[in-house]
Symmetry: C2
Subunit: 155 residues, 2 copies
């Protein structure tokens, strides 16, 4: 499920192109570059990070275009937008159902496969549940070395 080998990247990229076409959206060089960058990066980059990486290869790329394109992808259901910690929104090309691990220290976000049956039997009175998402909070292996203790910032 944490599958980011070249074949999967290609398949994901193709699926995003097809999805854009299906939604009646145009495939421009800028969008193609953003899609390729996102599909090939499992680290959940921010809009800023994507922009910075593409400046070299697509010099005319503008900030607004990155936001516009990511917004179009999210609206078409072709990628996910994650707001799991303070700071910029992160984007996720992995559209399989999965959870996330977030490092308290460095902010890293990693996919965590969903094991066992979905908790879609979930019922919350007075609320129409569409999806249940889990966030594993803690420390990534890099930060776990001699990390100072930290109070729980998320309740």
């Amino acid at each position: 499920m944490i599958d980011r080998d070249p074949t999967v990247v290609r398949v994901t990229t193709e699926a995003m192109f097809a999805g854009l076409r299906d939604s009646g959206l145009k495939i421009t060089p800028q969008r193609a570059a953003i899609v390729r960058e996102l599909a090939g990066d499992p680290s959940h980059p921010t809009a800023q990070e994507i922009f910075d990486r593409l400046r070299g290869s697509v010099p005319s790329m503008s900030f607004a275009t990155v936001y516009n394109t990511l917004d179009a992808l999210v609206r078409s259901g072709l990628c996910g937008a994650l707001s799991l910690a303070p700071g910029a929104t992160r984007f996720d090309a992995n559209m399989h159902a999965h959870h996330h691990a977030v490092c308290d220290q460095c902010g890293m976000v990693r996919d965590v496969p969903r094991e066992g049956p979905a908790d879609l039997a979930a019922r919350v009175p007075g609320f129409s549940v569409r999806a249940v998402e889990r966030i594993y909070r803690g420390l990534c292996s890099e930060c776990a070395g001699a990390a100072p203790p930290q109070p729980d910032p998320s309740h």
Copy 2:
């Protein structure tokens, strides 16, 4: 667990004052007002909302003080900071272990009691899990009426 009757508000307020003292922090009129406002509000207000509500009763209140105080409370483990959706951080005086329901439409955040055993047996390879948090995404009862369909932004 969603307990916000006057008695609980008083207890929560007292606990926050005691916690501030224990952390060597001063209890100023501004901080007292912020603590009371937060303890009495189960709706997870933003810093802006708290500021707006206190403008009337504490005219000298400044924006930076609201942020400073909320930051002090979070650092001392006396309240939680929630980043569950795009937009401003929300604050939560409920420090019992619980989950959250987030409305896709209006952004409302509601506490959801944790039922059954904690999933603290959770294990993620290469990650040191401190807490597992669940987010129920969907529509609140108000938005569920004739709400236009919405693509899953967080899968």
